[in-house]
């Protein structure tokens, strides 16, 4: 039991920044990212004995974080739909604000552009969003992403390509609005 506690604390110390930052890229809200980080480590604690070591621990933790983040977003979106005829929930307000999210780790001169990027990323499909975040923001290699997403490297390449194309298309529409504002 004591060993399990020590192992868990070591895993937490090693992966807390990775989990928190990945959740932050998905959720674009500090409190939500903290909540998902808690969910991830609670699951890691309870499932550690079932981890077979077929993949690297890091890959396994990445997968749990991505699934928890996507579940969190789905849950929030379904609550949003539930409240569509009633009082607006706080969650909805938070998600409307998500488009103006300012990541605290982004260089000051890039903050405005990054807020536009995060808002546009939210319009991508789940798989494209995951591939783009892991590749472009988290800086993982295609084989690493393939291991996390449990698909082939060519599928990852295709997802990243489609994500970038979709982003460019959506941004090109936003450019007109941006120019009008200026």
């Amino acid at each position: 039991m004591k060993n399990q506690e020590t192992d868990f604390q070591n895993i937490y110390n090693q992966y807390r920044i990775l989990v928190y930052n990945l959740a932050l890229h998905y959720l674009q809200n500090m409190e939500d990212a903290e909540e998902v980080t808690q969910d991830v480590f609670v699951q890691v604690y309870h499932s550690l004995h079932t981890f077979k070591g077929e993949s690297a621990l890091k890959t396994w933790i990445y997968r749990i974080t991505i699934n928890k983040s996507l579940d969190f977003i789905r849950h929030k979106n379904s609550s949003k739909r539930f409240y569509v005829f009633g009082k607006k929930s706080n969650n909805e307000k938070e998600y409307l604000n998500a488009s103006s999210f300012e990541h605290p780790g982004i260089l000051l001169e890039n903050k405005e552009n990054a807020a536009i990027l995060y808002a546009t990323i939210n319009e991508l499909t789940e798989n494209q969003k995951t591939a783009f975040i892991l590749s472009k923001i988290d800086g993982l290699t295609n084989p690493e992403i393939a291991a996390i997403m449990q698909c082939g490297i060519s599928a990852v390449e295709s997802l990243i390509f489609r994500a970038k194309s979709a982003l460019k298309e959506k941004l090109s529409k936003k450019f007109e609005e941006h120019r009008k504002k200026k």
Binding site: R16, I17, Y20, V42, G105, L117, K164
Partner: protein, 88 residues
Amino acid sequence: MEKENWINSIINSTDGITKVIPDEQLFSKIQSRIINKEVIGTRWLWLAAASFALLFLLNAKAIADKNRNVVSPIESIAANLSNSNQLY
């Protein structure tokens, strides 16, 4: 050209991003969630076990009561005889 530059500047806006460090209290929050989950888990387990035991006892009692009320054929004939004193 202006449009392309703008799009590229947006896509590359996360270059040089630094990692954010989570709150120091986060580990204790996780620990308390794990402990609470374990306590609730044990409590629910005992509640479920008690419910099953109660259900089993009630069933056993119902079967025992039913068996006690069943009158055997000989007892039934004897009762009829004592009422009428006639065999046919």
